[in-house]
């Protein structure tokens, strides 16, 4: 569609056109609203949102927190534009039982459309590239971990997790991990699909029926872990949770020795 009826009729450079748009009072007022909204989302994304999330106990979880903050910041201006302009029009609504007079008849504005596409593509590109970089560094870390990793075989069964430490010859219903040692989880399900989710470690993968999946991470903070199932797995899905601990290497060795008898008390 042509832009004969464009918002701005002059044909100077796009830069001048843009400047002309911003000279309009209504654009500036709407933009002010937008800035306010952007600021609010900045605060939510940067501080309020992360405060809801549990303590990060691995670099994976740390990077997820960072990523969520950055994504919120990227989207804050988008929220600002959309909400700023809609708040402005809402405040200038027409009241009454009869329809308002016809508004201006412009049908498009190629400058605005073009700018919109470019900016949204750019923001999208930032998100994509950032995500790919994070993924890449995660898989580089995986390669690093492989050398020195402690293997934990995770078995999901309806409706409990069990853990086998082949290196130590220990089995447990709790996930005990030494700090700062890479750990490689080999996950399998003996019945339906589950999803292995040690919440504070920021990793997750499905436990598929009789098919092994692998994830790795390095716990770097002492504390309790919640291990949950994130895939509906039947009657007691809600109760398919267990606890875990990240402990010092010494504590871990003590725990291993105490449980090598074949049972956990």
């Amino acid at each position: 569609m042509s832009d004969d009826h464009g918002l701005v009729e002059m044909e100077p450079t796009p830069g001048e056109k843009l400047a002309a748009i911003f000279k309009q009072r209504e654009v500036r007022v709407a933009t002010a609203w937008g800035v306010l909204v952007t600021a609010i989302f900045f605060v939510i994304g940067g501080w309020i949102y992360p405060s809801w999330m549990p303590t990060a106990m691995s670099t994976d979880m740390k990077s997820i927190e960072r990523l969520i903050v950055i994504f919120t910041w990227i989207s804050a201006p988008v929220c600002g534009i959309v909400l700023g302009f809609s708040i402005y029009t809402f405040l200038h609504r027409h009241k009454g039982d009869t329809p308002p007079a016809d508004g201006p008849g412009f049908r498009t504005n190629s400058l605005v459309v073009g700018l919109w596409v470019i900016v949204s593509s750019a923001l999208c590109l930032v998100a994509v590239v950032y995500g790919l970089i994070e993924m890449n560094s995660a898989s580089a870390a995986t390669a690093e971990h492989k050398k020195n990793a402690m293997v934990v075989e995770v078995t999901g069964s309806q409706w409990a997790w069990s853990f086998n430490y082949p290196e130590q010859g220990v089995q447990s219903h709790e996930l005990m991990l030494p700090i700062n040692r890479p750990v490689e989880f080999k996950i399998i399900s003996v019945d339906v699909n589950h999803s292995f989710w040690p919440v504070q470690l920021g990793v997750k993968v499905d436990a598929n029926r009789l098919q092994t999946t692998v994830i790795d991470t390095t716990p770097n903070k002492l504390g309790d872990i919640d291990v949950k199932c994130a895939e509906l797995c039947g009657l007691y899905h809600a109760y398919m949770e267990t606890s875990g601990k990240v402990m010092s290497a010494d504590d871990f060795n003590t725990w291993v020795t105490a449980h090598q008898g074949g049972h956990t008390a």
Binding site: S157, N164, V190, V227, S243, G262
Partner: protein, 245 residues
């Protein structure tokens, strides 16, 4: 949908609105009530019996309590054994109730009579005795720490949601299966039959008050997938609640 203009007065319309809305709220309420009563816990809870004795474990003194359950191959067997099951379907089941109540900070000694056969556990881990005092249980007078994965009839596994204000409680008891050859494997109408089965006795210590759940980890339902259908997927047969109060 007549073509007439409405002649309803404002007050009449308001009344109609209030009545209409209340009526619909009531309908939703009735649906809720029906569902609630259909899914209520068994009417009878099974309470542990407190005894006067106390016991010292790891330097701490605990009062003692006992509780007894049975696990039956089907409703007929449960009835034969003297339990009036409230369950509707003819499934393998624990009795006499699926909701057990235990006293807090107590040394609980639990006895489970198992009368069922068995094949093999899906997850061999649940062949181990976990969470009992001393890490053992007593099967027909013999102390054991685990039962081979292919000799289990059912398990009694207590677990819970991890949360900040509740003491952890995890107990896993595998029940020794009854061989086909053993006398009393299946119920008969013959009143002279002596049901032998196996008797598992074990003790564990409860923490503070809290709600827990128990279920069986042995594949004893039906279905082609890991036999966790039917009885295993229906609440109150091979699964239930544990209230520590």
């Amino acid at each position: 949908m007549s073509g007439k203009e409405s002649t309803m007065t404002a007050s009449k319309r308001a009344l109609s609105a209030v009545v209409g809305v209340l009526l619909m709220v009531a309908v939703v309420g009735v649906v809720g009530f029906t569902l609630h009563s259909a899914s209520a816990d068994p009417h009878k809870k099974l309470y542990a019996t407190k005894t006067a004795e106390t016991i010292v474990v790891d330097g701490k003194t605990y009062p003692k309590a006992t509780i007894t359950m049975g696990v039956y191959a089907d409703t007929a067997q449960a009835k034969e054994m003297g339990y009036n099951t409230i369950n509707k379907k003819d499934y393998v089941q624990y009795g006499p109730s699926s909701h057990i109540v235990l006293p807090a900070h107590t040394y609980v000694t639990m006895t489970i009579h198992g009368y069922d056969g068995g094949e093999k556990l899906n997850a061999p881990f649940f062949g181990k005795v976990v969470g009992t005092v001393g890490g053992t249980m007593n099967v027909d007078g013999v102390d054991v720490t685990e039962i081979p994965a292919d000799q289990v009839q059912h398990t009694f596994t207590i677990h819970s949601l991890p949360s900040s204000n509740r003491d952890p409680l995890f107990v896993n008891i595998p029940l020794q299966h009854v061989d086909e050859g053993d006398n009393g494997f299946l119920p008969t109408k013959d009143p002279g039959t002596n049901y032998k089965g196996h008797t598992m006795t074990f003790s564990f210590i409860t923490g503070g008050a809290g709600e827990y759940v128990w279920n069986c980890e042995y594949p004893c339902g039906d279905g082609t997938y890991a036999k966790f259908g039917a009885a295993m997927s229906a609440y109150g047969y091979m699964s239930g609640k544990v209230s520590v109060a």
